[in-house]
């Protein structure tokens, strides 16, 4: 059994506590061994590096060094964290000179990064390490009869050079997991790898909400029952801002599930333990539909 240096990210412990809660519940059931990196800082979500690229690289390399000391790959549960770390890794892992420059800022803490830490999102860990067959064996309440469209979040798919450097084979993972859980992964959903508008929330709220609304409308167009996302920031917009999107008042609401919540429902964890009551958009209808179908 692989042990992971678990990096939950700020949002899972702040504005989307139901993500942390559901990950812990699901991790237990799957038998994941998670050793939380409690001393690691925020990845900076791209904003720190916008202000100071070197600072962004140093802070994340610090996290890599901590995981390297533990001897485990990092596991994240946020597309944004994953993407930011993957981009930093693409700069520091293979360039010894640059790594030495970055390490200078870590030496007073006694840390030195050697370039060996692997960063994996839960989604990648599930498919690549755990195996979909094993996941399938644990499914006791298949999510059959519902259409769960995938919503990846920008940073787990782009830039592909950083997040999927070797194979370009990570494209369909979310659909594969959704299908393993017994649901219809709505292959024709065009919004799946587009932007939810979150980064514009403070600088251009109108555009931000327009993008969020667009993604939801695209999901309605293909009759999705709900979206599943591996990114809590996407969740903040798709769920939290949904009532303020342009078409919200005239359209049915669209529940948004965190990836571990969808898994939890299928492997028989009670909805309360998955924090499903903590969403802005009600999930009761979806849970009822699942109960009828299952």
């Amino acid at each position: 059994m692989t042990t992971y240096a678990f990096y939950p990210g700020c949002v899972a412990k702040g504005g989307a506590p139901e993500l942390y809660q559901s990950m812990v519940a699901v991790g237990e059931k799957l038998g994941f061994s998670l050793s939380e990196l409690t001393g690691a800082a925020c990845t900076g979500a791209g904003v720190i590096s916008e202000r100071d690229p070197l600072a962004g690289d140093v802070v994340n390399t610090r996290t890599f060094a901590m995981a390297e000391q533990l001897g485990h790959p990092i596991m994240t549960i946020c597309s944004t964290c994953t993407g930011v770390m993957a981009q930093v890794a693409s700069r520091v892992n293979h360039d010894a000179d640059y790594r030495a420059e970055v390490n200078q800022y870590l030496s007073d803490e006694g840390l030195e990064y050697r370039g060996t830490t692997e960063v994996k999102h839960l989604l990648w860990a599930l498919v690549e390490d755990y195996g979909l067959d094993r996941l399938k064996d644990l499914v006791v309440r298949p999510l059959s009869g519902v259409r769960l469209a995938p919503f990846y979040g920008c940073y787990i798919v782009r830039p592909s050079k950083a997040v999927d450097p070797l194979t370009a084979g990570r494209e369909g993972y979310l659909e594969q997991v959704i299908a393993t859980l017994g649901a219809d992964p709505v292959e024709e959903y065009r919004g799946k790898d587009k932007c939810c508008g979150f980064p514009l929330l403070e600088t251009n709220r109108k555009s931000s909400l327009a993008l969020t609304g667009k993604r939801l409308d695209e999901a309605r167009d293909v009759s999705a029952d709900a979206l599943v996302t591996p990114c809590p920031l996407c969740h903040l917009n798709l769920d939290g801002q949904q009532p303020d999107t342009p078409t919200a008042s005239t359209q049915d609401s669209m529940p948004i599930l965190h990836l571990p919540q969808a898994i939890g429902l299928a492997i028989g964890i009670a909805p309360e333990r998955l924090g499903l009551a903590r969403h802005i958009i009600d999930t009761k209808g979806l849970i009822r539909k699942l109960a009828v179908a299952g």
Partner: protein, 328 residues
């Protein structure tokens, strides 16, 4: 090899709605999508319209969406696509003239709006301008732009905000802001700070991903945001406040506390619009803790920020060098 092309057709002049048409084709293994489309037009359906010229990814004419993402048809090898059916659509964010041909007028207008030419100051030298090589060499990437429009096609912000100046024009703007000979950089940066400017980019990486020439427009946009803040052009913009709020909070606690972050990032007037969201979240037990959680040794993070920031270099400008009386 056999290939199935699913092409989005439309003839707006004849008031035609868009529709999909599928073609089965047998082509040699080495064919690009453009080769296949030309064969299709010559042998199967002469009514299909598309643009192309060089056939070797130089001219930038053949931009279109391939399996949902913009690319050059002549740079897309069919055997690399690993799909049985290839969907082909006109580029996005631009009106369709016919089939795969789009109207580039809005694209050029955005480009002209940033004054895409050199604006030097002072006397013109008798011979060429002399600049240090490393002040120019790093512009290699941006000058590779072939104006194909792929980045504009897939730009997320443009899809909802027609004012947004967009990735191609911003990449060009960066090219001049960073050019040692150009003296209009302050004026250029002011424009970047306004409506449709760099703060309206949603940081989605689409332009970086689809650009066939590795111009990385978004990276240039982020670099210009940094210049705006470093040069003191903007302090009040939410984008600048957000940068500062983020660094302050992560510097103090080691992690982000979303409610404080929001309060520091938007103006008092705007806060009301977000208050509703906060209230909704509180009712669902979703608000972050009142006293933010702090990581152990958070002070180290602030220290890192202080030390890395002291390494920042100013950009090199000829006219400033001249004023300061130093010789190049």
């Amino acid at each position: 090899m056999d290939v199935q092309l699913k092409v989005r057709r439309q003839n707006p002049e004849a008031e035609g709605e868009p529709y999909w048409k599928e073609y089965a084709l047998a082509v040699p293994d080495h064919f690009t999508l453009l080769d296949a489309l030309i064969q299709l037009r010559e042998e199967v359906d002469e009514t299909l319209s598309l643009r192309c010229s060089c056939r070797s990814h130089i001219c930038g004419s053949c931009g279109m969406r391939v399996n949902g993402h913009a690319n050059l048809a002549c740079k897309t090898k069919l055997s690399d696509l690993h799909t049985d059916t290839v969907t082909v659509e006109p580029m996005g964010n631009m009106p369709v003239i016919k089939d795969l041909v789009v109207d580039l007028e809005p694209f050029w207008k955005k480009l002209y709006s940033i004054d895409p030419y050199l604006q030097p100051a002072g006397e013109v030298p008798e011979r060429e301008y002399v600049v240090p090589a490393d002040s120019m060499l790093h512009l290699d990437g941006v000058v590779n732009c072939i104006m194909c429009g792929a980045c504009v096609s897939d730009c997320e912000s443009l899809s909802v905000n027609p004012l947004f100046i967009g990735p191609t024009a911003f990449a060009k703007e960066y090219r001049f802001v960073m050019d040692p000979r150009d003296a209009a950089d302050t004026q250029r940066l002011m424009q970047m700070n306004g409506p449709g400017g760099v703060w309206d980019c949603t940081h989605c990486f689409q332009c970086v991903e689809v650009c066939p020439k590795d111009v990385a427009p978004m990276d240039r946009i982020m670099a210009m945001r940094k210049m705006l803040v470093d040069d003191g052009v903007t302090e009040k913009h939410n984008g600048a406040r957000r940068q500062k709020a983020f660094a302050d909070l992560v510097g103090r606690y080691g992690r982000l506390d979303e409610s404080r972050y929001l309060m520091k990032s938007v103006s008092m007037g705007e806060l009301a619009g977000y208050a509703k969201v906060g209230l909704r979240s509180a009712m669902r037990g979703k608000l972050p803790p009142l006293v933010p959680h702090r990581i152990p040794e958070a002070a180290r993070i602030r220290r890192i920020f202080e030390r890395t920031r002291s390494t920042h270099r100013r950009r090199f400008k000829l006219h400033q060098q001249a004023q300061e009386g130093s010789r190049v």
